[in-house]
């Protein structure tokens, strides 16, 4: 059953999940915030696609740019308006705030747009299929893999080679000490939210592209995937998030093939049970180390 088609499928699913998980863990690393509003950045990205295509009539590449921008702006604005004021309150206050932000954004879209799903068209090239060495796969899968490689390389260059990246890594390790270097707290936190929004925006193109529609609660499924992938891979480093994403993609595909038809609707439940059992034996996830648990205060 492990053929090239399965491999490409798993790689593309894993890539998408890795992007999702990475965006979540970047903010977690610095702010120690489990961001429940993260799924809404993806949802807003989806509406960005819809809005720019049907209302602004932009060409397809511009709609994608618009979607990413929408997600980035949303992420940054939520940081400014909600997370910054509660930043030095308790950890639960931050999480509850993110949950409230999530509910707010969902309902704002519900009021302003519609509770009904909106169709989103991606260019035809996405759904065309090609065959490589006998395996047939949609072009979309290859684009996802390619984009993820580019994003991961760009992100690691940013984190390793730029001062901002160094400051972000330092802040994830020791937040107060980083400020004692003269690095503004707001700079690294805003940067984390902007990059998180960027990853959410890119992921939203592929996520929405698969279902070809967007509705106010679109964000909950990718949020959950990001959650599970990060706890599985390890909340403590970006590497952990990426590994978690790919492992989760693999697990998902294996369960899809092996579960009997009657049980397939329980797939998600099975997945969580596996993850929880795994965490029992290894609470820090697959990848250890990296970020500490020091809280911003």
């Amino acid at each position: 059953m492990i053929d090239l088609e399965f491999l490409i499928n798993t790689l593309s699913l894993g890539s998408l999940y890795a992007l999702l998980a990475l965006g979540l863990v970047l903010v977690y690393g610095i702010l120690k915030l489990v961001n429940f509003a993260y799924g809404e950045y993806i949802m807003i990205g989806g509406y960005g696609l819809y809005f720019s295509a049907t209302v602004l009539h932009l060409p397809w590449w511009a709609t994608m740019l618009f979607a990413v921008l929408a997600a980035v702006v949303t992420s940054y604005l939520t940081e400014l308006a909600a997370f910054r004021p509660v930043r030095n309150k308790s950890a639960n206050a931050l999480i509850v705030t993110s949950f409230a932000v999530s509910i707010f954004l969902q309902n704002a879209v519900l009021i302003l747009v519609s509770p009904r799903a909106r169709a989103v068209q991606l260019p035809a090239v996405f759904s065309r299929t090609v065959s490589i060495a006998g395996a047939t796969t949609p072009v979309r899968n290859l684009i996802i893999i390619g984009t993820t490689v580019v994003v991961l390389v760009a992100l690691s260059v940013l984190m390793k080679r730029t001062v901002l990246g160094m400051a972000m890594r330092a802040a994830a390790e020791k937040f107060t000490t980083t400020r004692l270097m003269g690095v503004p707290a707001n700079l690294v936190i805003s940067a984390a939210f902007i990059i998180s929004g960027l990853l959410a925006g890119i992921a939203s193109i592929f996520w929405i592209g698969r279902s070809a529609s967007v509705d106010p609660v679109t964000g909950s499924a990718p949020l959950l995937i990001a959650f599970i992938a990060t706890v599985m891979g390890g909340m403590h480093s970006p590497t952990g998030a990426v590994v978690g994403g790919f492992v989760y993609g693999l697990l998902f595909n294996i369960l899809s093939i092996t579960l009997p038809a009657g049980m397939i609707s329980y797939r998600d439940a099975f997945m969580f049970v596996i993850v929880v059992l795994f965490l029992l034996f290894r609470p820090e996830g697959i990848i250890k180390g990296g970020y500490t648990e020091e809280r911003v205060g």
Binding site: Y28, K32, V34, A82, P85, V86, K89, S90, A91, N92, A93, I95, V96, T97, F99, A100, V101, I103, F104, Q106, N107, A108, L110, I111, S114, P115, P216, S220, L224, F227, I228, T230, V231, M235, S265, Y266, D268, A269, F272, V273, V275, V276, L277, L279, L280, P283, G285
Partner: protein, 356 residues
């Protein structure tokens, strides 16, 4: 010490309960006598919410762990009690795929509600064992994932829950008085729990986990027992709720309902019973007012579209504002004391910051 002064000390120490219960009872009597049927419904719903929120407070407020699964246990209790108390003929019609063994089960309402609570507690006892071992952030995410698992099972298991479709035909049992009695019992239990040895150890583990461990508190065990107790309360609340609402679907035990419970406990302040009661009151009233506004806007047809979600959006903003300006909630971490207005005792600020 004379008997009288001893009584005075005792009543001053435990003045919280009467301070909270008397206004609730008076409101209940007044609404029963003069209120409209809408008001009667809102009040009954308030009392049922009170049981849920106090159950949530028992674990979350005292341990500092965000328990997303709480509403799932409410659901378990609701389904269990509903299945047990509904006549086989009704179930046969309403839930065509139900296991025959379940269809034939039938018992009076009160035992059904009690069994529903026990089922929820039993489930918590099983899943709590691994969950309470996970550390804070991983714990939050896994508890959230557990809620999703509950929801998946409720929506898929149509031999029991009727799947995503409505489960109906539950008899109406929860009147205003039943709900009020439930709410009052919940207050006593939650208060007693908070002041008990277990509650104290749980609060100690919330304030400083390692310090608590160093004085010999088994944090995992304390959390585990509290989790199960809280789930019992949730399950009982679910049973009471099911016999009030009479028909429901898995949607009622999911994220938006959990948001409502969270907004109640956060706005009031999760650190105290007073906070939970105040939060439930404020949110119930605010929600009803917002609903009226929403309904008025929609009925007036001033807008070209129907306004959905205004209530939730405003509640979310309200919640964020409370977290910004009063992170300990409107009441803060302290219980109400008699006399009501007294200078804050030292330490109050610290606890207010810890509770969320």
């Amino acid at each position: 010490m004379s008997l009288l002064s001893r009584f005075m000390t005792f009543s001053r120490q435990h003045a919280t309960l009467p301070l909270l219960m008397v206004p609730v009872i008076i409101a209940g009597i007044a609404i029963n006598a003069f209120g409209s049927s809408l008001l009667l419904n809102v009040y009954t719903y308030f009392c049922v919410s009170l049981i849920m929120v106090l159950g949530l407070q028992m674990f979350m407020g005292n341990s500092g762990i965000l328990n997303w699964t709480h509403i799932g246990f409410v659901g378990v209790g609701a389904y269990a009690a509903g299945i047990l108390s509904t006549a086989p003929a009704v179930k046969h019609m309403g839930v065509p795929n139900m296991f025959p063994a379940l269809v034939s089960l039938h018992m009076p309402v009160i035992p059904a509600i009690l069994v529903g609570g026990l089922v929820a507690a039993l489930l918590a006892a099983i899943i709590g064992y691994p969950l309470m071992r996970l550390s804070d952030f991983v714990g939050v995410i896994t508890l959230f994932a557990t809620l999703i698992v509950f929801h998946v099972i409720m929506t898929q298991w149509d031999n029991v829950t009727n799947g995503p479709r409505t489960f109906f035909g539950v008899q109406e049992f929860t009147t205003l008085w039943v709900a009020l009695a439930g709410g009052l019992i919940a207050m006593v239990v939650a208060y007693w729990f908070r002041e008990s040895g277990l509650g104290l150890r749980l609060r100690a583990s919330r304030d400083d986990r390692y310090a608590a461990m160093s004085v010999g508190i088994d944090v995992v065990r304390v959390r585990y027992y509290s989790f199960v107790t809280s789930a019992l309360m949730a399950g009982l609340a679910g049973g009471v709720w099911a016999h009030f609402i009479t028909s429901f679907s898995p949607k009622a035990f999911y994220i938006s309902e959990m948001f409502l419970l969270l907004s109640m406990i956060v706005i009031g302040g999760s650190g105290s019973i007073s906070g939970a009661v105040a939060g439930t009151t404020v949110v119930t009233i605010a929600r009803e007012l917002l609903r009226q506004v929403e309904g008025t806007i929609n009925n007036a047809h001033v807008l070209s579209f129907e306004v959905f979600g205004l209530t939730e959006a405003v509640m979310a903003v309200l919640m964020i504002l409370v977290l910004i300006w009063r992170p300990g909630g409107v009441v803060g971490g302290q219980e109400l004391r008699w006399p009501l207005f007294k200078r804050k005792e030292p330490g109050a600020t610290k606890e207010a910051e810890d509770a969320a």
